[in-house]
């Protein structure tokens, strides 16, 4: 019963949005204040000053789809990259371990913006990469490295006795990983992946520089046309805030659901 693998472990690697505590049943929380404030402000601004706010919101809404496209493609690539990296970092084989660790060291040491420019402008000279593919490649390799750490931590948090029990039944190493370790590790890994998703969604604002028409880019375009920067970035900020707050609530609910076998 005092099995450490059954304790609730929370891993936070990057500065993703903080997850609301799923056990907090109070109505007034940091989350509810933020979401209520953001939505009310947005509605009031659109109603009371429909020019420019309502017009801007319509203009920016195309960008929401692009932002989600870039984020979802990137996370779908980053998860397998992270899983391979995490397993590589845990490998006893020194060569594999070194490759995975070096990848993490190098990527973590270079700012995402530089990576974006390197792929779009640098590699673009040789291959001609479009804005969205370049963004997806850069984001997924960058976040794959961070996510490798999430996988590594999640897997090593599982009690050694679990692997021993599986091995002693006769499972080989990959069966042990697939049938016993990973299903348990997902529970610790998924919430931080949700967190990375939110962090990534915010970081996609960087790709506006590559002429990708995301929320940020659309806001900049509108502001450039009518010279109302204050209003434009107020709106852009509110749109990002509402999206990330909803997502962080989703992560929190998922986290609570994942603990089904502890109850």
């Amino acid at each position: 019963m005092e099995n450490p693998s059954q304790q609730h472990i929370r891993i936070e690697v990057s500065d993703g949005a903080s997850i609301p505590d799923p056990k907090d049943r109070r109505i007034v929380t940091a989350w509810s204040i933020s979401i209520f404030g953001a939505i009310t402000s947005l509605i009031l601004l659109c109603l009371l000053k429909s020019d420019p706010f309502w017009n801007m919101l319509q203009f920016v809404s195309d960008g929401v789809i692009v932002t989600f496209q870039v984020t979802i493609f990137s996370i779908l690539l980053a998860i397998p990259i992270g899983m391979v990296t995490g397993l590589g970092r845990l490998s006893q084989v020194r060569a594999i371990n070194l490759v995975a660790s070096t990848y993490v060291e190098v990527i973590r040491g270079i700012p995402l913006l530089v990576q974006l420019f390197f792929i779009y402008y640098g590699l673009g000279r040789f291959f001609g990469v479009g804005g969205i593919p370049a963004a997806v490649i850069a984001m997924s390799f960058c976040y794959g490295a961070y996510m490798g750490e999430v996988f590594r931590a999640g897997i090593s948090a599982i009690n050694k006795g679990q692997a021993e029990a599986a091995r002693s039944l006769g499972f080989n190493q990959s069966q042990t990983m697939r049938l016993v370790i990973m299903p348990q590790a997902w529970r610790t890994i998924l919430p931080p992946i949700g967190n990375e998703f939110i962090a990534m969604l915010k970081d996609t604002s960087l790709v506006s520089i590559l002429a990708v028409a995301d929320i940020m880019r659309r806001g900049t375009e509108y502001a450039g046309q009518y010279f109302n920067y204050f209003e434009a970035f107020t709106l852009v900020a509110l749109v990002y805030l509402i999206i990330t707050l909803i997502l962080s609530k989703g992560v929190s609910i998922m986290e609570a659901r994942l603990n089904y076998y502890d109850r």
Binding site: M1, Q6, E164, L169, G170, F171, Q184, R187, Y261
Partner: protein
């Protein structure tokens, strides 16, 4: 009781952890159907000895043969060997994400190619045997330590092993739960299972052991039947150990 060929045979086995000698020239034969209990102070190497039988620990020198197979030979498929060696741990190590029934059926379906229905029937049978039929759908976290350990024994039995290894199976249990686990083990012994058990339960040793082995500092210092062992311990360190524990 015993056939002529040992089912487990250790020859001049050594295991080192840095400066420490965990196993120091250990030789031991265990015959089919035999119940061997290993006792000794903590750090005496008894768990290391047990775990080296299914290669959860690799030894540095010497030879270990289980059912005719050299377990440390690189050509040996250790996973195949382990399928016939049930192991029960001090901390149960049930799979927390699977319910009791799934804990029992996972290995037979994936490793023995058993159908899910057949495995379920087998599991229900085994749960009856360890007297915990009503918990088939429960997750391990809902069970007491004694219940978890009985499920762990049933999980090992689901692979129909030839030998059962017990690594201090009652040491993590509250005193009132030790009896229910020992009962299961005694019944298993009566059915003729070959058992190797590291334990501090002297009552259990006296009741079921064909042979008791006393280890200290990585060496086997004394072995014999329970009558001899408790009545006339010859080695002074065993005498001292028995005084402390009884």
């Amino acid at each position: 009781m015993t056939a002529n060929t040992p089912i487990i045979s250790l020859r001049n086995v050594y295991k080192f952890y840095g400066q420490l000698t965990a196993l120091n020239d250990v030789s031991l034969d265990i015959y089919p159907g035999e119940k061997v209990v290993i006792i000794g102070p903590s750090g005496s190497g008894k768990s290391t000895l047990l775990r080296s039988i299914n290669r959860l620990e690799t030894v540095d020198l010497g030879k270990i043969v289980v059912d005719g197979v050299d377990v440390n030979d690189p050509a040996t498929n250790i996973n195949k060997v382990r399928q016939d060696l049930g192991m029960v741990f001090q901390n149960f190590n049930l799979f927390p994400h699977k319910n009791v029934l799934e804990n029992l059926t996972l290995a037979p379906t994936k490793l023995r190619g058993m159908s899910q229905e057949a495995a379920n029937l087998l599991a229900v049978e085994l749960l009856k045997k360890v007297d915990i039929s009503d918990k088939a759908a429960a997750y391990p976290s809902r069970l007491s330590g004694g219940q978890q350990q009985r499920v762990a024994i049933a999980r090992a039995l689901a692979m129909s092993p030839k030998i059962m290894l017990f690594d201090e199976p009652t040491s993590a249990l509250d005193p009132e739960m030790i009896g229910e686990v020992l009962d299961v083990m005694v019944n298993l012994a009566r059915e003729g299972m070959t058992m190797v058990c590291v334990t501090h339960e002297m009552g259990f040793a006296r009741e079921v052991a064909d042979r008791i082995i006393f280890m200290d500092k990585g060496e086997i210092l004394e072995e014999g039947g329970p009558e001899h062992f408790f009545a006339n311990p010859s080695h002074p360190r065993l005498q001292k150990f028995l005084q402390q524990i009884l």
